[in-house]
């Protein structure tokens, strides 16, 4: 079972965007391809994960190499890319490594932006699509449900996806570090830069209200205020607004600072100790750097926000190490479970075989003892059952142990031959 499992594909690690975007196929095409591959018997099970950063085939096949070529030949053919072009970009993992790859991808440990949350949804969609096409069997089913569970654990047990990795979200996160909850905090947006507007939008989504907008052109201020469900304020009357608001975003094209330390200091008294957070997205800066030195005032310019983002990425990497260890443990557990599944049919048919013999022998013995009383019959049953159990014990333990150690195939064959078994659905192939 393990040997037949494989994953093959290309991703941002191996293939340029030009190739990845070519291979991004729509759902109808993917449906066609997976159904075709299973219909022809190239694969027993298959699903295709296709996002802008990776195109991967997860499958179960007797000859994984053949299935891989067939899948990518068909995908490439849709866009006129020959298999020889794709071949050098492809990686293939089989068995335990395929399990590990699936877990890492679903947990976003293989993503371009470490810990980004979309990938899990994309894997789930791919799985649902394959399920709808009936190309998912027991192996992919248990692999993927386990991958989803692992991804969830990674998300809750580590912080690999927790800290903001974009400038505008970093600003929101900082605001939360200063104010706690953002409900009911007020925002002043000065200037109409795109990034400023984006940051303001994020803040409004987090519950900051009311919003004030100031701009040198009154019409622009009014338009933006309408857009953000806020109030336009005259550019010349910033100071009175500074007394009220909690968060200020500046993004004007002014060549000189428009918010100066001396002014903010005067405002501070009227603010009665409430903290003030200034996000200065403008270059050149709109807020005098000295403002940051004032008690309870925090100024972050674009560079500061970027360095926070970098620190957050480093933090995600730290957390990723713990996540990798977690994935590693889960892979080992899963592989053991899969191997256990492989020996189960052999154990079952061994038990059936012995039970069959036992019943026949008991019946024969009883035929020779027509006058046997119930006590004798019971004793015979117990004796034979005891014998069967004792005989079964050794091979069963041996099979389970060998599956844990990874060399169970030899033992399955050996025991099957010894007892003349024909396990159903098992891996013990007949000679």
């Amino acid at each position: 079972m393990m040997e037949r499992l494989f994953v093959a594909g290309l991703s941002h690690h191996t293939a340029p965007l030009a190739v990845r975007e070519q291979l991004a196929l729509d759902e109808d095409k993917l449906r066609e391809i997976v159904s075709d591959l299973v219909g022809r018997g190239t694969c027993a099970e298959i699903m295709i994960l296709s996002t802008c950063n990776r195109v991967e085939v997860y499958g179960v096949a007797d000859v994984p190499g053949e299935a891989r070529s067939a899948a990518f030949r068909q995908m490439g053919a849709q866009r006129g890319i020959g298999l020889p072009t794709l071949e050098p970009l492809l990686y293939t993992h089989g068995g335990v490594e395929a399990v590990q790859h699936a877990f890492r991808v679903a947990s976003s440990l293989d993503s371009m932006v470490l810990g980004e949350p979309q990938i899990l949804g994309q894997v789930k969609d791919a799985f649902a699509l394959a399920q709808a096409c009936r190309t998912v069997g027991p192996v992919l089913h248990s692999l993927m449900s386990q991958a989803f569970a692992v991804a969830k654990r990674v998300r809750t047990d580590t912080e690999v996806g927790r800290h903001a990795v974009s400038v505008s979200f970093a600003a929101v996160e900082l605001a939360r570090k200063i104010f706690g909850g953002l409900d009911g905090r007020s925002v002043l947006l000065v200037g109409a830069g795109e990034m400023g507007e984006l940051a303001a939008r994020h803040l409004v989504e987090e519950g900051t209200l009311p919003v004030y907008v100031a701009n040198r052109t009154w019409a622009r201020a009014e338009a933006l205020a309408r857009d953000l469900a806020g109030t336009a304020v005259p550019f010349e009357e910033l100071l009175p607004v500074l007394v009220q608001v909690d968060i200020v975003i500046t993004s004007t094209a002014a060549p000189e600072p428009i918010i100066r330390a001396a002014e903010v200091e005067r405002v501070l008294h009227a603010r009665r100790g409430r903290p003030l957070f200034l996000i200065d997205i403008a270059v050149p800066r709109n807020v005098e750097p000295a403002v940051n030195a004032l008690d309870g005032v925090f100024v972050y310019d674009v560079d500061d926000l970027r360095s926070v983002v970098e620190a957050n990425l480093r933090e995600r990497q730290r957390q990723a190490q713990r996540a990798e260890a977690l994935v590693e443990r889960e892979v080992t557990k899963f592989a053991a479970r899969l191997r256990d599944l492989e020996v189960v049919p052999t154990i079952v048919s061994l038990r059936e075989k012995l039970e069959e013999i036992r019943r026949a022998e008991v019946a024969r013995a009883l035929a020779r003892l027509p006058g046997a009383d119930p006590a004798t019959r019971e004793a015979l049953e117990a004796l034979s059952q005891g014998l069967v159990n004792k005989v079964l014990h050794g091979p069963t333990v041996k099979l389970r142990d060998s599956s844990r150690a990874g060399h169970h195939r030899r033992w399955i064959e050996f025991i099957s031959e010894l007892f003349g078994l024909h396990p159903r659905g098992g891996a013990g192939r007949e000679p």
Binding site: D157, E159, H163, L174, R176, K177, I178, F179, G180, L268, H269, R272, G273, P275, N292, D295, G296, F298, Y300, D304, S307, V308, A311, N312, E315, R318, Q319
Partner: protein, 268 residues
Amino acid sequence: MNAVVFDVALTAYILAAVAALSSLIWRRDDLGRAARVLTLAGWICHTAAVGLRGMELGRPPVLTLAEVVSVVIWVAVLVDLVVERRYGITAFGAFLLPVVLALGLGLPTGLRDLALEPQASSAWILVHVALVLVGLAALVLNFGSALMYVLQERQLKAKRPGVFYYRMPSLQTLDRLTLVTLTVAFPFLTVGLGLGVVRAGRAWGRDLVLDPLALFSIVMWLVYAATLSGRVVGRWGGRRAAYFAIVGFCVLLATLGAGVIFQGRHGS
């Protein structure tokens, strides 16, 4: 017996402090959970120790300086457990437990047998001690949250996110906690110390000004009074308030130290 149980409690606090600090530094939630369990275990042992001492002596166990400090710790840890649970400020223990330990480990060295005029164990003294005790416990928490505020504020100003940025609650939360603990502590401290001064003035006469514990207590009260009025009347920002809270706690430690070293009328 109570000494043994108390040592068990202290050991649990030590382990809890180590776990809490490690959880903060290495950002490990599992260590944080371990710290909370250990703190709870320590507190239960501590409760038993205080109760046992009371039963062995047949009187409320708050009549020696050591006993008072022990109960101050007990209350502080209790409030820490409540704060962590109610407000989800999981990093609080990492700041509070070391303070608790510093106080607790100071106990064996001289503090243990220092009696607060046990011959005068009247209802007056009990009320005086109980009130001061609640005040002190709140001030331990006040110090913990002020320290966290200062560290978090520095990281936010320096714009280099680090240990504190990733693990600590927001400035606003810490600021509120600092203010609340001070507001709770102050009335208890005022009435408690006031009772003590009135009573001691009557009993000791001019000896009152020669008692170091009494003198330091008054200085401490003045610092906290200044902090509270600064916040309420002057509307101080969080940073200045936090610095004052830290200064106030240093005076508090000096007060306890003075009580041990000089042993005025309090310790006779």
